[in-house]
Symmetry: C2
């Protein structure tokens, strides 16, 4: 299963016995053969030449004959990925192995490379150099070399010899089912390096068909690897999982040289991205601004403010950000009228279940926004924590329309999701932020970004000094759960189940609003994704509309809510432009956390508070 890679056509930094870009060399469906490497092997950005110069050796996959790729199918399937993995054989990625998405993704022959974004990068980002100590590790590829280089502790001194998780078996995801019928899986310290288990005895003439349990391979990841220092990009093992997952959900991505980098969550990813693209402070800076929805995630705003980055709010409707208003802002931009700030070149958007409005951009809306971005050379930061929480219409348990499949078919689920910006990104102008926080556990502090190789390379250079990548505990636990035990299909079934759970909660909240809120004053759109319900209160009908400001009304109702025992978020907290009065009277309520009974009671109290303020 493992042979030696023929590396002649590869660039120097990758010509070593321990480096493999096999996936670029293979038609995974095995049609025709050719020695040409894939497009994405050539023309690396000079700054990225150090990508493969790593603290440890490069992750290693067994090799096969380079073959010419046929044009890829429209969508990559789980079966494709299984076949690819089976052909590739066992992933050998010891401590601190270098890896990148190219090692694991489908062939990209014939696709164009992403555009260059040099003119968008800040001085800080441009000045970043690779870590010298990680560069030196390229010598580790030399057979027989003894390293007295990096100060990596010996795993002998790691005081945890195994970790055992109790987890659900798909599709029986409930807590009760897990308690009754879940499985215990153990991660040992040297699982990946010990000899593989002996093959099962086949004494009977007609052996039973192998079950998943029986064909289980030797683990590819263990505590000795996960708990030592690693690449800032994250482990090869999790890089493979998120690369394949990204292809399954968003593929085929229109350009060739896309990459991924694991993050310590999207909070961190956004701060790194802003420092990479937006130069805010100081007299000599570019005085950059960020475009975003007129109501935007308050923590994102709080990330931009101390960097001196301006924020410009784009008007919204029930599908979120309005491309026409974005175009108007960009067309009419005059630095003189904008405090000397130059025309914005970055859009930060939450396309699905936007925080705080709950709005979800439809496919056509996304395409229109993308075209505005192209016309004005705007880079798009696509923040999608709630992407998989796309829900059926209220009460529609049958799953009609986009993103609403409730039956058991995983491919149907994927087909139903609204296409991402990443999936329509012909230029490589999108950086997509994904996170396990909302769909597995927030405490993992684990997510990933996907973008062009140039952008990811600059992002990695920052991650090397900003955090050195995510927790090894988080990586090895999620790898065991998602990759080794559940696999892509099990994880997608988990997501399908989870969004239905959130849909039920959403329905409870909307029904409570129907029942308890004064409909002549309060309006809303039923959220199609996410965790948030956004309530508009008609401020013009307030008895003191002529004397009280929107902020005063908002405060009065908020305080009345608190005294009645309900906490909602004030709309004004989310104003993109904090120095402007809010355009309306809004409240955000989450249906993620409270029990159904408490949600109903809370909305009842909110209704009382509104009625009191409006004296009805």
């Amino acid at each position: 299963m493992r042979t030696v890679l023929r590396t002649g056509a590869l660039r120097d930094l990758r010509t070593s016995a321990s480096t493999s870009l096999h996936s670029n060399f293979r038609n995974l469906r095995g049609r025709t053969t050719c020695r040409l490497p894939a497009v994405s092997c050539y023309g690396f950005h000079s700054k990225s030449q150090d990508c493969s110069e790593a603290l440890g050796t490069a992750a290693q996959l067994p090799e096969a004959e380079p073959v010419l790729s046929a044009p890829p199918r429209e969508r990559i399937t789980i079966a494709d990925i299984k076949e690819r993995r089976a052909k590739a054989g066992r992933l050998i990625a010891p401590t601190a192995s270098y890896s990148d998405a190219d090692m694991f993704k489908a062939p990209t022959v014939g696709k164009p490379k992403a555009k260059r974004w040099d003119h968008h990068l800040t001085k800080e980002s441009t000045l970043r150099e690779p870590c010298k100590l990680k560069q030196a590790a390229k010598h580790l590829k030399q057979p027989g070399l003894i390293s007295l280089g990096g100060g990596l502790p010996c795993p002998e001194y790691f005081p945890i010899s195994s970790l055992t998780l109790h987890i659900p078996r798909p599709p029986h995801f409930s807590e009760a089912a897990t308690l009754a019928d879940g499985e215990d899986v153990t991660i040992g310290k040297y699982d990946a390096s010990s000899s593989p288990p002996p093959p099962p005895k086949q004494s009977s003439p007609e052996p039973p068909p192998p079950s998943r349990q029986q064909v289980q391979q030797q683990p590819e990841y263990d505590l000795s690897i996960a708990l030592n220092y690693a690449q800032a990009t994250g482990s090869a093992q999790m890089t493979r999982f998120v690369t394949e997952h990204t292809e399954l959900v968003h593929g085929p991505i229109p350009y060739a040289d896309w990459r991924v980098c694991l993050t310590v969550g999207s909070t961190s990813a956004l701060e790194q991205t802003l420092r990479m693209l937006c130069d805010g402070g100081g007299v000599a800076s570019r005085r950059d601004s960020l475009l975003t929805e007129e109501f935007s995630f308050s923590t994102a705003l709080e990330t931009a403010a101390p960097l001196g980055v301006g924020v410009v709010g784009v008007r919204m409707d029930e599908q979120g950000l309005l491309p026409g208003d974005m175009e108007r802002i960009l067309d009419c931009w005059e630095p003189g009228l904008r405090g000397g700030r130059r025309k914005p070149h970055v859009l930060y958007t939450v396309p699905s279940g936007q925080n705080p409005t709950g709005a979800t951009q439809g496919e056509q809306r996304r395409r229109e926004i993308y075209e505005v971005a192209r016309r004005h050379d705007v880079f798009i930061v696509e923040d999608e924590p709630y992407y998989y929480l796309q829900m059926p219409d209220k009460g529609n348990g049958k799953g009609e329309g986009r993103g609403v499949a409730t039956t058991g078919d995983v491919e149907e689920f994927l087909e139903g999701l609204i296409p991402s910006y990443l999936s329509m990104d012909v230029d490589g102008r999108v950086l997509r932020m994904d996170s396990f926080s909302k769909v597995v556990v927030p405490g993992s502090r684990l997510g990933w970004v996907t973008a062009s190789e140039q952008i990811i390379e600059r992002f990695i250079r920052h991650a090397e000094v900003a955090n050195q990548g995510p927790s090894g505990f988080s990586q090895v636990i999620l790898h065991k759960l998602l990759d080794e035990r559940w696999g892509h299909e099990g994880y997608l079934r988990w997501l399908m189940n989870l969004r239905m759970e959130y849909a039920k909660r959403r329905d409870v909240m909307v029904e409570a609003c129907d029942e308890f809120l004064p409909r002549e004053l309060v309006t809303w759109n039923t959220p199609q994704a996410g965790m948030f319900h956004w309530l508009k209160v008609n401020h013009e009908l307030h008895p003191h509309a002529s004397t009280k400001s929107i902020l005063e009304m908002e405060e009065e109702i908020f305080n009345s809510c608190i005294s009645r025992g309900v906490l909602v978020a004030r709309g004004s907290w989310f104003r993109a432009e904090q120095d402007r009065p809010p355009p309306g009277l809004y409240f955000r309520a989450t249906f993620a956390a409270a029990t159904p009974e408490n949600m109903r009671e809370a909305i009842r109290r909110l209704g009382e508070a509104i009625r009191e303020s409006y004296q009805i």
Copy 2:
């Protein structure tokens, strides 16, 4: 065991039933009684008023009568902490609880507060505002309140119902002992919220003395808490552990208002600290510089460079940084001769087992450097990953001298450690960075910083948008291991054992150098701490000393090493001032990673490479 806190004397933000600063109110040795709160309760910096405005409720400890503190003893002991915990009772810190060191530390009555550092903070740091959503959570303290505020997922949807670790029982730390006689400990999802286990039956008239196993309390931390969103400061549970540990090792700290904040490791802590204190970029900036050892940790230099922060190297001897040279640089500073940069106001130093030189500052050296810092208003960043790897003299298994106790007495071990800058910091001008990377596992990406309340508050504001705190998996696993199972004493025994393991490795390397290196050319000091051995090669004796530069000799020997199969780090990689020629010919070799046999062989090869270059 649990009573209601009398909060009248506390500032408003803390007057709530769920807030407790009990430790400030109690003499933990129970001498006399008084209603005066501790000094550190008053005079909060205005920016820090939001400290207690949290995503969740504040951590809660049962309360006792406020009592007047006697002056604290010279060193806080494990017995003191056990007594304090016993009196405090069970820690109740549900999801996203706010906590700070004041909740857990010994009384600080009579101590001065730290100085103010406003003039040291950057504009970016000064501009930071608390997260609005976390502020709103102060309302959660209200009894009966239903929150539709924060978007925290329901733990029902966390797909891991328990985690079981296999760990050593102190003091039997070896892998073999752990395999044979370690224990399995399990972290459940709702361990902290379920009813406490029933008390053991006491049917016999004379019950046996309770063992640790038997008196085990209900756990205070579980997966439902650890895996949800949390404060950026980290969990209350781990905050308590590192606060107490810091007191045990460095206490009594001379000023009252010190605090801690958990970090995602010291890599991240350093980047945050530099952005807080050093303003490097742009024409209108302060053009700050950093003082550090003339050979310094290369990743630290790579963190400073893209921020535009200058680096000034201070000369060193076998004890590291020379206070006289530091004073000379500061006395003679002229911005005109330094590219317009203002006089440095921050020192970055690794006092123990410095990277790359392995030098360890003795107590007197540290006091001298601290005094220079005071005279010139310099803030000290004390980076101490190797602090606990202080070793006995080579071959001295008996443990004489400072930091070398090898007997089983934990107090003796603590007494033997060289005092930290934190322990001598009368002004609050030190930010100390600690990490579990080198002494537990690097993959935890978990550490903590200790500094004055003002500095920690600004640090937290950044952590809220930079990473939201460390991984919950890392926190709950290390809490189970270090706090719940081992306790402070077990952890200190682990550290005592670990440094002896490193001392053995150090001895192997130094003996190999004795045997294989040409002593007429190569000199070194035996490392007294850490993981690194620093070799000086006399470049003046090189046969081509008149024609070859030091960098050329270094490259020649390095390349010869590689071709002979050994990787060492080149001294020039660590030059603080990268644009200057190195002051000598050096190589760094780590004794952390290779086996003893490989270390000897690697040093033999290095000896060959040097001899070849010197033609001997």
